[in-house]
């Protein structure tokens, strides 16, 4: 599903974020990417989204070489297959929960009947079936993150990328969010989660890829944080 082959990324300012990294992730896997700040976690996610291009090496997502994709059609199509969740939720404050999720379908041109069917369904799935008409600032952090997960999943992506999704949440809420991500994973979505959260990584016992100074220093199935 995801394949980084000998990828090196050097930014324009000369910083090398990744150095000769090779990672293979199968369909349906749940993978933690851990490591200190600046170890290359975010760069890895940005490469998968084709927000950055690798300086060397190849990146494949769902069988496509993302470097070769055109910005006209290929990259948007790639991103429709990838859901994204962030530490800061990235919700639109002037839209309701329903509108935040439907926005993601609307801007890729889905017809109204699809939107009306899928949005309540996914919000129900993440446990917010009764908060459709609330605004983000009326929700708790955990609920906001659920909205963001709903938005990421509403188009049924093959891959879910989560960048520190529990970074702004208390431990109990974090556990709830992890249960939800696990649920999303169980229905076949490949989940890649970058995190600092030791307790969560240790509790989940999933595959752990550790980066340090842009290199893979550990790749362990059913691993722990360190």
């Amino acid at each position: 599903m995801i394949s980084l082959q000998n990828v090196t990324k050097t930014y324009k300012n000369g910083v090398t974020a990744l150095e000769a990294v090779s990672i293979e992730i199968e369909k349906g896997e749940f993978v933690f990417v851990v490591g200190p700040s600046g170890s290359g976690k975010s760069t890895t996610l940005r490469l998968l989204l084709r927000e950055e291009e690798p300086s060397m090496g190849e990146v494949f997502v769902a069988g496509k070489n993302v470097v070769r994709l055109s910005s006209l059609g290929g990259i948007p199509k790639l991103r429709r297959n990838i859901g994204c969740v962030f530490q800061d939720f990235k919700l639109l404050q002037d839209k309701t929960v329903f509108e935040n999720v439907s926005f993601a379908l609307e801007v890729i041109g889905k017809p109204k009947h699809v939107i009306d069917a899928r949005v309540p369904e996914i919000l129900d799935y993440v446990g917010l079936g009764d908060k459709l008409n609330n605004y983000p600032d009326e929700l708790s952090g955990g609920e906001q993150q659920r909205v963001s997960i709903a938005r990421a999943c509403v188009n049924r992506p093959l891959v879910l990328l989560a960048d520190e999704p529990t970074g702004n949440l208390d431990p109990n809420t974090s556990v709830d969010i992890m249960r939800l991500l696990d649920k999303v994973n169980k229905i076949g979505t490949t989940v890649v989660m970058a995190t600092h959260d030791q307790a969560i990584v240790d509790a989940m016992r999933k595959r752990v890829i550790e980066l340090d100074h842009g290199k893979v220093v550990r790749d362990q199935s059913r691993g722990v944080y360190s």
Partner: protein, 303 residues
């Protein structure tokens, strides 16, 4: 259908959110397009005056009554053979009368009271080389009359020669200066309008950078993101164009129409003239929108 609805909803939201900037952009577009239209109208008005005064020829050779057909043929051939002459057109008395009627149609005092017989037949001559005008007067044995300044000729059948070169030169100089002056201001204003519209789009995109970020992230295409802003620019330019066209018609009604009839000899532009320049105003507006759109969204071109 749904996509179109999406675009217009986004555009309307954008203009509302960005009200003052959008207003500034529209007003500048309006002033610029108004001046542009004014320049075109001035050019048309002066062309009307030139037409009225000279019939759009450089030299007119009037024939004395009664006009004999063989004289016409002979003189036309002879004039045509002169190297200074580019073309010679014969206008008979009926045609002269019809042209005068059309020219003064807003002035019934002339058209009704002057009988057709007084309009002389003439050769209307366009010169290949205006400096060689003397060839014509020499050929027709004409002399300037020291008292009336008319040029009378001894060639049989020729009444007199009218030389419009001087008037034409002066009128076209006036046209050039007036039209180019207004056009220059119009171009400066059009550039400002373009920059303002571009800036409005840019500010709109900045205000909505979070939405744009999410749109990109969930796989919206470039055009899906850009089109609402392009429509916004087009709407602003077209509102400016509509206001400019309305104002030009108002100028025609409240300024030009007030002069009509007061200056008898002066032909004035009509509604049709204003109508004829509206396509140019719309084209200029579209140009403003296209250039502004290209500049304004360039920063957001990459996915």
């Amino acid at each position: 259908m749904r996509r179109i609805e999406f675009y217009f909803r986004e555009t309307a939201a954008g203009i509302r959110r960005n009200g003052i900037m959008a207003f500034a952009a529209m007003s500048t577009a309006f002033i610029a397009l108004f001046l542009f239209g004014l320049a075109l109208i001035i050019a048309r008005e002066i062309n009307l005056v030139i037409e009225a005064v000279t019939g759009n020829v450089q030299v007119a050779v009037y024939l004395s009554d009664p006009v004999r057909p063989d004289t016409v043929t002979r003189l036309q051939t002879e004039l045509q053979q002169l190297p200074a002459v580019a073309s010679v057109q014969y206008e008979n008395k009926d045609e002269a009368c019809a042209r005068a009627k059309k020219l003064f149609e807003s002035n019934p005092a002339i058209t009704e009271n002057v009988p057709c017989e007084v309009y002389p037949a003439s050769f209307r001559v366009t010169l290949a080389d205006t400096a060689q005008y003397g060839q014509i007067t020499a050929r027709l044995s004409c002399q300037p009359d020291p008292t009336t300044h008319d040029i009378t000729c001894s060639e049989p059948g020729v009444l007199k020669v009218l030389d419009f070169r001087d008037i034409l030169d002066r009128l076209s100089a006036i046209t050039r200066v007036l039209r180019n002056g207004v056009l220059f201001i119009a171009v400066v204003m059009l550039v400002s309008a373009t920059v303002l519209v571009a800036n409005t789009l840019r500010m709109g995109m900045f205000a909505r950078r979070k939405e744009i970020g999410i749109m990109r992230l969930v796989g919206a295409t470039n055009w899906r993101i850009r089109v609402p802003f392009l429509i916004e620019g087009l709407v602003e330019a077209l509102v400016g164009a509509a206001l400019a066209i309305i104002t030009l018609f108002l100028v025609k009604v409240f300024v030009v129409d007030q002069l009509r009839g007061r200056i008898v000899w002066l032909p004035l532009i009509r509604n049709g003239d204003v109508l004829a320049i509206t396509p140019w105003i719309l084209i200029a507006a579209a140009g403003v929108a296209i250039v502004a759109g290209t500049i304004g969204i360039r920063r957001f071109l990459d996915v």
